[in-house]
């Protein structure tokens, strides 16, 4: 009997497994968010941005209506115009941040009523912060039965708040606050203002709590033309979720004796900074691993002041959440001089691939590639090959001879710029585009930045995707764990980098160079004049469309399933004088679509500055199912939850002249 019982159970389990295998082809062990909640910035600890809810579906999507609007504009001295937050939903509350002070708020999920608000008292660290805006949200954990909300402030403090009341937890740090400047390392402090004098460090993302440890990332000011080659590195730290005590630190620029130290020539390890983990973090609490991705070391576009491979710049690092020990790492770009900072929270999911359930972690990038690894071992799921790349001729620069090339999945965005990639709507426009581009060096992926006024007559070098191309934080990526599909929003974009000697750079920044009479150069050997690209003729985009797209990638095979333009052709293309009478297929919008996957739909907004429309498409085909109008344009990925039997979608909107707010949509009652 016992035996039979067992075999019946086993048979049932096997049928279940088979069924799963047959119907979906992917066994999703991680099913995204649970219980109608949204407990992490990315939905769940694996940042799936997936909700298994299906009250809102293909049949009723167009009936969605605005249920409430929550105004963020009054949180902070000026209204915010780019609201980048995604709320959490835990129990009967939403938790998020608002405004340049990064006030933390609890909101009623049914009505939008503010339940409590907390903000850090003003201090010079806030004034000096380079990331007052862009607050993405908070983390939540239960500590000894009590709900706690964690936030990192623009001044780089961490606060722990009681989720019920918003009151700081007295036994956490000092009265609920931990100073994140402390324990970073031996960096000089400006005694008058209490800020680090050797650089800037802050954070715009939430931390993540993994098995009782809060893991804290960071971010810095942009690094196109920093005032100096020195900065503070974005070391990763782990803190006790109850007491706020710092437990470990992982050096993203390794000290002498640490692994990777020899990838920094000379003294560059001593003074180089950045390498921040500004993208949100992800975790696998069963493995007790946190997945951290990093950005470029100081000076985004010139590496002559930091020769070497520069570990752990532009890398994904798997760290043991309890100890901070490195489990594995992979450097996406050696000696990065393209500002290819990792922009997305890594995605964690299990996918049936080659007859085995592979525990994957995926990073979608500005390079236009999705890097797919076995998250236990760091082994690439499809080969990533070191290939030769063009070399720089900028004095003092030494490019890495090779870079890692992802062989599968295929790139989801245009890589490199050749004459073939320039617009060809008409022969005249093409000729004009060629002439404009002719001043700059074209080249394949990893084309190195070059000098303004180069002796050979060129003025800089293209690379694509550029500063605002490929995948990035606003749209990011989402997954469908049921089907093992990755969706990634990307933008077509290139940069043209023109380097000038630091001594000739005169960025007159009011905050850094208060006296316009005093020359304000940079002590870096070379810096870029900026991150932008060049336009095509008559203000048209230089590159061929689509200007923005969503790509669906089947992780079971690594193949692209489909690719759709982001929304419709924008008005400035449709109405452009030079294009009248031409038949131009949908170019999509030049922005990162903001995406969410649910049980039955892929839902997206068109992103920064585009039409205020929310689209629903078929997950398997990319075909549009419906659209509804929004009060304003979306700037960041949305979330969904169930409350009192009603499914909501909440998204942050803001834009030119539109002050930031949260908008909640649901079906009519």
């Amino acid at each position: 009997m016992r035996f039979r019982g067992w075999s019946t159970w086993a048979a049932a389990a096997m049928t279940g497994a088979l069924l799963l295998g047959l119907t979906s082809g992917a066994a999703g062990q991680r099913l995204g968010t649970e219980g109608g909640e949204w407990r992490y910035w990315g939905g769940d600890e694996g940042s799936s941005r997936y909700s298994p809810l299906d009250q809102i579906n293909a049949d009723n999507f167009e009936n969605l209506e605005v249920v409430w609007r929550w105004k963020a504009a009054n949180y902070g001295p000026q209204p915010d115009f780019i609201y980048r937050a995604t709320p959490l939903k835990v129990g009967d509350k939403l938790f998020t941040v608002a405004g340049s002070r990064r006030s933390v708020v609890a909101i009623d999920p049914a009505t939008g009523e503010t339940l409590w608000m907390w903000r850090m008292r003003n201090n010079p660290r806030w004034e000096a912060s380079t990331r007052q805006n862009y607050g993405k949200g908070v983390a939540y954990a239960e500590v000894e039965g009590r709900g706690v909300v964690y936030v990192i402030t623009p001044g780089y403090y961490m606060a722990a708040l009681d989720a019920e009341t918003g009151v700081p937890i007295p036994y956490f740090g000092m009265n609920g606050i931990v100073d994140l400047h402390l324990g970073l390392g031996d960096y000089p402090v400006d005694a008058d203002r209490g800020i680090l004098s050797s650089g800037d460090i802050t954070s715009s993302s939430a931390p993540i709590v993994v098995n009782g440890v809060i893991v804290v990332g960071n971010s810095h000011d942009r690094g196109y033309y920093p005032r100096r080659p020195e900065n503070v590195p974005g070391h990763i730290r782990g803190y006790d979720a109850k007491t706020g005590e710092m437990i470990w630190k992982f050096n993203v620029v390794p000290d002498p004796g640490e692994f990777g130290h020899d990838t920094w020539e000379g003294d560059s390890w001593k003074y180089t900074g950045n390498v921040s983990a500004w993208a949100p973090l992800s975790a696998d609490s069963e493995l007790d691993i946190v997945y951290v991705t990093t950005d470029t070391p100081t000076n985004d576009y010139y590496g002559g002041d930091r020769l070497g491979g520069n570990l752990f710049g532009t890398s994904i690092i798997a760290l043991n959440a309890q100890t901070g020990e490195r489990v594995w790492h992979f450097q996406m770009v050696h000696h990065d001089i393209w500002n290819y900072d990792n922009p997305n929270a890594p995605k964690v999911l299990d996918v049936m691939h080659d007859g085995r359930l592979v525990p994957m972690v995926i990073e979608t990038t500005k390079q236009g590639w999705a890097y797919v690894f076995d998250r236990e071992t760091g082994e690439p799921v499809w080969p990533i090959e070191e290939r030769s790349v063009p070399q720089s001729d900028t004095p003092g620069e030494r490019t890495s001879p090779t870079q890692p090339f992802v062989t599968k999945p295929a790139a989801f965005e245009l890589q490199g710029v050749t004459e073939d990639d320039l617009i060809d709507f008409t022969p005249e426009l093409r000729a004009a585009a060629l002439e404009l581009a002719g001043e700059y060096r074209m080249g394949p992926q990893f084309n190195p930045p070059s000098l303004l006024n180069h002796p050979d007559g060129t003025n800089g070098a293209f690379h694509a995707p550029g500063a605002n191309g490929g995948a990035n934080i606003p749209g990011g990526s989402s997954i469908d764990p049921d089907n093992g599909i990755l969706y990634v929003a990307s933008q077509r974009g290139h940069s043209v980098i023109s380097l000038v000697p630091g001594g000739e750079a005169q960025p007159r920044l009011s905050n850094l160079c208060p006296d316009p009479a005093v020359p304000c150069a940079s002590s870096a050997t070379y810096v870029a004049t900026g991150p932008g690209g060049i336009r095509g003729p008559q203000g048209l985009p230089l590159l061929k469309p689509p200007y923005g797209a969503i790509t669906a990638i089947d992780l079971k095979t690594g193949d692209h399933l489909w690719r759709i333009p982001n929304g419709d052709t924008p008005a400035n293309i449709k109405n452009h004088r030079a294009l009248q009478g031409l038949d131009i297929p949908n170019t999509g919008k030049n922005a990162h679509a903001t995406i969410l996957t649910t049980k039955t739909l892929l839902i997206y907004g068109e992103g920064r500055g585009q039409e205020p429309i929310l689209h629903a498409v078929d997950k398997m085909t990319g075909e549009e199912i419906g659209r509804v109008e929004l009060p304003a344009t979306t700037n960041t990925a949305m979330m969904s939850y169930m409350h009192d039997g009603r499914q909501f979608i909440v998204l942050a909107v803001a834009g030119a002249g539109v002050e930031a707010e949260l908008v909640a949509l649901a079906l009519p009652n």
Binding site: Q78, P79, D80, F81, I82, N133, Y134, D221, R222, Y224, Y225, L436, E439, Y440, L452, N459, S498, V500, A505, Q506, P507, R508, L509, S510, N511, P516, T529, G530, P531, G532, I534, R535, G536, P537, Q538, G539, L540, L542, N572, R577, A578, R608, G609, G655, A656, G657, V658
Partner: protein, 127 residues
Amino acid sequence: MLAVATALPTSAQEPEVAPPSSTREGVYTVEQAERGEEIMHDVCANCHMDDEFVGTFIKSWAGASVGDLFEEVSTSMPQDRPGSLRPRQYAQVLAYIFQLNGLPPGEVLMSSSIEELREIIIEGSQG
């Protein structure tokens, strides 16, 4: 607009003249460019040096209207606070960019209405 007016001499005493139709015809005032310089260095210089807005920049916008450029900049910049300047401040920034490119100032205040600015075509200072 009044096509004949373009043939008439323009001066400060005759404010009724038709607005200029090309950036070569003095589309902004010196004061606007001065204010624009301050804004550029306070707000935009955090991410852009002036060098980015000369040369190819103006060549690539040539043929489009000032309204097109105004719309682009006012909806997307500054990147961390798009649309946060007032319309007249965006006009001042454009005035400064035109000045950087050697385009002449004039007597007429540059409008901050996209529709009116669509009547002015961008041309570089030479060629």
